[in-house]
């Protein structure tokens, strides 16, 4: 990059309040983020997965849900790179289309739980008192059940197993951790002098919340969102594995692992490969999350 001074605005670097604009926040961000090999690998994995989801129909000549009973349980060949499943569908095709299901569920559920959770967390932190107590008790209760049990309960009790039911269950399960994190973040931001300064010049509660607390609590939220996608994809795979999540014939990686387990001894790829896809996706998003956290960590400013 050329060395001319780049003036940054507060909109830069994911809404972070910007110190004196000596160096572009974006460039600093990029240097940390792309400087570490693991983060870069994670980023590339995420990009590839997103592109795969978008261009799925162009990548494979097969149909992911249409049965072909004449070609059941084939071994890998030049036509079916990973072989076919018990209903004669091309495994690689189903994995490719599975990215769509995972990403749609991952993004929607995380978005839903983040919106509700962040709102609850900010409210609790801002008002304190009985509002705080009430909201914290609610999160206590939600977190008293193992997340997967809560999700099983919701998805299982709502008949059908459609995509939206799964998203609802996963999103519901994610509210409490998101709320706790946001509340903790907002409470610590509140201690800062600039919030005090805002009060001193007579800013309203609402303005302080939206212009001071939220932007400063935002970067960790971005990290939590990115990491959350991995968690939700794992949750979805788990529900589908148990048979409570996305229902056949929609290609879901967790469901494919379950189907494949029956043929483990003869066709191990049927359950190995979808699991590997889950791992790659989760790993990618986790690394991107780690990278963003390092890149926006103010304690590392100046060091890197």
């Amino acid at each position: 990059m050329p060395d001319k001074p780049v003036v940054s605005t507060p909109d830069d670097a994911m809404g972070m309040a910007v110190a004196p604009p000596r160096r572009s926040e974006w460039r600093r961000f990029a240097r940390v983020f792309f400087g570490r090999k693991l983060y870069l690998i994670g980023f590339i994995i995420v990009v590839i997965i997103i592109l795969t989801a978008i261009f799925a129909p162009l990548l494979t000549p097969y149909n992911p849900i249409q049965n072909d009973l004449t070609s059941r349980l084939l071994s890998p060949s030049s036509e079916h790179w990973l072989g076919t499943d018990s209903l004669g569908r091309d495994l690689l095709t189903r994995i490719i289309y599975g990215t769509q299901v995972s990403l749609i569920i991952g993004f929607s559920a995380v978005f839903a739980s983040a919106t509700i959770g962040a709102l609850m967390g900010l409210t609790a932190a801002h008002f304190g008192g009985w509002v705080f107590t009430l909201i914290m008790r609610i999160t206590d209760v939600l977190m008293a059940l193992p997340a997967i049990i809560l999700m099983m309960l919701i998805a299982g009790m709502m008949q059908g197993g459609g995509l939206w039911i799964v998203i609802f269950a996963l999103g519901f399960g994610g509210i409490a951790p998101m709320c706790r994190m946001m509340c903790g973040m907002a409470l610590s931001v509140k201690q800062n002098d600039y919030v005090m300064a805002g009060r001193a010049i007579g800013m309203s509660n609402w303005r302080i919340m939206t212009t001071q607390i939220f932007p400063n609590a935002f970067p960790p939220l971005i990290v939590a969102l990115t990491m959350g996608i991995g968690g939700v994809v794992l949750g979805e795979a788990g529900l589908s594995f148990l048979g409570i999540g996305v229902q056949a014939p929609t290609p879901s990686w967790g469901g494919m692992v379950m189907d494949g387990q029956r043929f483990l001894l003869t066709n191990p790829l049927l359950s190995f490969m979808p699991g590997l896809a889950i791992m790659l996706l989760v790993f990618g998003f986790n690394m991107v999350g780690d990278g963003i956290r390092d890149a926006i960590d103010p304690r590392l400013r100046g060091v890197i």
Binding site: L38, R137, D140, V141, L142, M143, A144, L145, P146, A147, I148, I149, M152, L153, I154, G156, M157, M158, Q159, G230, L234, A237, G238, F241, L242, G243, I244, G254, V257, G260, Q261, L264, L265, P268, S271, F272, G275, I278, M279, V282, F283, N286, M287
Partner: protein
């Protein structure tokens, strides 16, 4: 300290009461008619509309679903207080009997998973922090990063394939109680425990490592070095005790994750435990069993959180006087 403990116990009880409400509401308010589902399941036809409205109402009355929801909740709580978990409408047996059969199994493997996961993870984390940058640290950290992303059930399947099928070291699936035949039970338990413990080790190792590293940079550790204390004293008395605070706090959450993992593992390895019971009850729409088993999972987590809170108060005196 006594006041602190009493406060925590009361808070735990309150949470438990709220959990009963949450579970009850979720089970009752989510769309779906329990009577029809019960009937469809009972006849095994999968059809839900085989009853006349009169038959439907009679059955609803028999199962107690015709009362207002508050009254139903109250009936349930009254039974619970008497120590009665109700009766399964699916298997037509007292739920307490069903649960007393399966709970010891889940408790046993859950305890093993938890013990292996936390001890292994904490030891690995301490080692990594003390020998930061060594090849073993890099290896463990990489494995931990990957371990966080592995779906438990998939790891279980992988282990079955390689260690049971290819190498023949362990049985593929099933369950033998340790109180019946201990040596045999051990070989059955290794793979399930390993599948879940890996995730636990990974999470614990990462957390312990970063907490230890954070403590290393504090003033009191620098002072301890400057005083000329021996390394062992500094590591164990100054660093470890402080670094353990967040680790101990996370134990309750870890137990919840491990309990969740055991649900998958019971399915993969066909272990008839709590997770299987609950999954089956969900498929059967056996409301009473779903309620009871969820409540028991919640109770375990709340109890362990209580223990953690008390341990936390002991480790960190500041917390007692909040």
């Amino acid at each position: 300290m006594t006041a602190y403990i009493i406060r925590r116990i009361l808070l735990g009880l309150l949470t438990l009461i709220l959990v009963t409400m949450l579970v009850f509401l979720l089970v009752r308010l989510l769309p779906g008619d329990p009577v029809m589902r019960y009937m469809a399941n009972f006849t095994g036809t999968g059809q839900q509309n085989i009853m006349t409205p009169e038959q439907h109402d009679a059955l609803a009355k028999e199962l107690g679903f015709d009362k207002p929801i508050v009254e139903q909740y109250w009936d349930w709580i009254r039974l619970l207080l008497k120590g009665d978990l109700g009766e399964s409408i699916g298997v037509q047996q007292p739920i307490a009997k069903l649960i007393s059969e399966v709970l010891p199994r889940t408790a046993y493997i859950g305890f093993l998973m938890f013990a292996v996961g936390t001890f292994g993870g904490i030891l690995a984390g301490i080692y990594c922090a003390l020998r930061r940058g060594s090849w073993l640290d890099n290896t463990i950290t990489t494995i931990a990063n990957i371990g966080m992303t592995v779906p438990v059930f998939w790891l279980g399947i992988l282990l079955i394939y390689f260690f049971s099928y290819k190498l023949g070291w362990f049985p593929m699936f099933g369950w033998v109680a340790p109180w019946d035949d201990f040596p045999k039970s051990c070989s059955y338990v290794v793979l399930p425990v390993a599948s879940v413990a890996l995730g636990g080790i990974a999470g614990m190792a990462r957390l312990t490592r970063s907490c230890m590293l954070e403590v290393m940079n504090t003033d009191y550790v620098r002072t301890a070095w400057a005083k000329g204390l021996r390394e062992r004293v500094i590591v164990f008395r100054h660093q470890l005790k402080n670094a353990m605070i967040p680790v101990v706090t996370s134990l309750g959450g870890t137990l919840a994750v491990i309990l969740g993992g055991s649900v998958f593992i019971e399915t993969v390895f066909s272990i008839p435990g709590m997770g299987r019971l609950m999954t089956q009850a969900i498929f059967d729409y056996d409301y009473q069993v779903v309620q009871a088993s969820t409540l028991i999972f919640g109770g375990i987590v709340i109890f362990s959180n209580l223990v953690v809170d008390i341990a936390w108060g002991w480790l960190d005196p500041r917390i007692r006087y909040e």
